[in-house]
Amino acid sequence: MQIAFWALAALIVLAALAVITLKNVFRAALALIVCFVAVAGIYVTLSADFLAVVQILIYVGGISILILLAIMLTRNLSDGSPANKLRLPAFLIAAVFLGLIVYAVVNTTFPVSNSLPPEATVSGIGRLLLDNNGYVLPLEISGVLLLAAILGAVVMAREK
């Protein structure tokens, strides 16, 4: 458990650093896929089995492929991802953010519960999504949002 967490955490941070440092955008996208798979592993260590599967299906199987296709469609001679002039202020902002969060997390006592999580989360999530007291309305709205996003993407990306 501990070894799995530390290995996955190191893999996530290294892959994220590779995404923002690699010059070649295609290689950065491949590093992003590694990051997504490691995040799915983190979900497994948190005993969220359904979310791990969803992460693999949607992020690794869907979003990564979309990103790779978009890179191949927009590749031109001046390839690469150069940095802009905001490097130092952006680094300061990110470092201050990280420092503040770490400070807050270390100095807070969370009301951690000792009870164990359920063995399988699929039925519980299904009940929460579709029960009377659950999240039926957000579920329906997210369906409408996906439909609108698909239509918008088709309209914007097609040849005139």
């Binding site: 994220a16 995040v39 031109n76 953010f97 164990l116 993407a153």
Partner: protein
């Protein structure tokens, strides 16, 4: 040392900070989009960690993570369509080349 909630929260903050730095400094539009995805993943890690350690029986955090993933998928589809459309009109995918509203 037992792995607790704070480890996951610090991991989430680290991933978010890396994504924030990348989104602010990179010029390539698709790299900016990838950094946004990393930041959303960091938020999801924090949500699932809270759900696992604070309210293990309720799973509300996992529901939130599912909705975040839905919105992220929609955002990626629309964002990539916009990038492809911009590329078709201007032959450029770098944010410093797309500045007609600044001039």
């Amino acid at each position: 040392m037992e792995i607790g909630l704070q480890h996951y929260l610090i991991l989430s903050a680290a991933l978010f900070a890396v994504g924030l730095f990348g989104a602010l400094t990179r010029k390539h539009l698709i790299t900016i989009l990838m950094c946004l995805e990393m930041m959303l993943n960091a938020v999801n890690i924090a949500l699932v960690a809270f759900s696992r350690f604070v309210t293990p029986a309720l799973m509300t955090g996992q529901i939130f993570a599912v909705f975040v993933i839905v919105v992220a998928a929609a955002e990626t589809a629309v964002g990539l369509a916009i990038i492809i459309s911009v590329y078709r009109h201007r032959q450029a995918v770098h944010s410093d080349k797309i500045d007609s509203m600044k001039r």
